[in-house]
Symmetry: C2
Subunit: 282 residues, 2 copies
């Protein structure tokens, strides 16, 4: 299994504080040592740093802890390999260009017997279940919308339709961003919070570091942080409900939807209950 | 204009020596200060570092100079902006996934009135002539070969057909790699050399650094280096002929072809001389 960290902000913000705590879990406070990656959007483009060394030992992770790259959308991942070798092509986040934007995806969980037919438009470079799921999601977006870029709400609707069906194959918690917004989905475990005015001090759980955000922010700042396990000990983190999809934009949770996993599982067991949707195609 | 650096090797090799000299040109020995980027392949995947700071000032470039990332195929670029803003989405190298591999492209030169029809399969994220040319090349590969991955020779043949036609729009020197090999093309300026057994010392031109490669290599090592301007003062660099395409694999130039630019320019002026090829489609 792996751990996820996402950040969506109203104004470009650096993630050094959260990443400092998060990356401790790659060998010090937890054993997610099999590679790490982090993607920082700047408008439609992004910087993607990946390494198959742990985020504790990697010189690239050390750079990220110390170089304040400001971004409105960030996705990071530390890996504990369950499927696929420990090499670069299996390191999350994964990226693909679609509609003239980079799309970035990181997954926590395991999928079993998930082998959908892919069109060839997006082909996995490595051999993880995660990259296969990413390519499948993007394939479905192109199937539905062709080469005309849909709205965020349309993407959200399609994701809420497809994601629970992928989740029938195992555990499917993810963060996905196209640089405009961040889509997060959890079947088993994700937490989130929003930091906004009036800002307060925050203390990391994994390392003895505290930042008083009231000293380093303005009233316009607002930051949503999404993570597998809470990062701070003195802030109120909200757990995702099983099957909850949240759309974050401008540092706010602007849309929530429950995807009714239990119902879909019942449908899978009793085909007579099953809705017919595009996602049935795999 | 910009400067290019490519490396293709028989065994995974680090590029710290060449990059140390090359990156001096981003503000010290030359004025290519408007961003830099470098991509390192590991099999089918790659690490791509880009920054819109100069390669002299960027902490990411400093990491590259000191962190010996070993790779068989590397492409780097330092930018002096002529078209497109100085931002991340316009920083070379550009990357796309095709046939389950990353493809990496960097361009030196300017293209004018180059506005081909693109299918939508590959869409520029930024607004440079260079990324447009890359998307066009990949589009033509998919047009010709569909979702069946062609051989390197087939890719080489298509590139030698299309590249001179793009070059009719201005200056088109590039490095392109899919992790298996490196394709280089020059209309105006590229140089190359091969370092192999028996290795000798090499002295950089842009900074007072010398490495005795005989001390840090084995007989199995072989490295081809491709660059806009020679990097060392005591090695024999070969200039590309105008319109020459070279395919590098295992640290060797395994195929050369002249693309007869002059003839194509004459054809463009006198349509009755023109050959009909797939590349006429734009």
């Amino acid at each position: 299994m792996c751990q996820l960290l996402g950040m969506n902000c109203a104004t470009p913000t650096d993630i050094t504080f959260s990443f400092r705590g998060f990356s401790q879990r790659a060998g010090i406070t937890s054993d997610h040592c099999d590679g790490f990656g982090i993607a920082f959007f700047e408008d439609k483009a992004c910087r993607l740093f990946v390494d198959n060394q742990s985020a504790v030992e990697s010189p690239i992770a050390e750079l990220i802890r110390n170089y304040p790259i400001k971004s409105r959308n960030v996705i990071a991942h530390i890996r504990k390999a369950t499927q696929g070798k420990i090499n670069l092509e299996n390191s999350h986040p994964f990226s693909r260009e679609l509609w003239g934007r980079q799309w970035i995806f990181a997954h926590n969980g395991d999928l079993h017997d998930f082998d959908p037919v892919l069109s060839g438009r997006f082909t996995p470079v490595g051999n993880t279940d995660s990259e296969r799921a990413f390519c499948y999601l993007l394939d479905q977006l192109v199937n539905k919308f062709g080469y005309i870029e849909p709205s965020l709400d349309q993407v959200f609707d399609l994701l809420t339709d497809i994601s629970p069906r992928i989740a029938e194959h195992g555990t499917f918690n993810f963060c996905l961003s196209n640089g405009q917004a961040l889509f997060s989905y959890a079947i088993t475990k994700l937490h989130w919070l929003v930091r906004e005015y009036p800002f307060k001090p925050a203390q990391l759980i994994d390392i003895d570091v505290e930042v008083d955000f009231s000293q380093v922010t303005t009233a316009e700042d607002r930051v949503a942080v999404i993570t597998t396990e809470p990062l701070t000990q003195n802030e109120a983190w909200t757990a995702f409900a099983p099957g909850e999809m949240i759309l974050f934009q401008y540092g706010k949770a602007i849309r929530h939807q429950m995807t009714h996993v239990e119902r879909l599982i019942r449908e899978a067991k009793d085909p007579s209950l099953k809705r017919v949707t595009k996602a049935d195609q795999y």
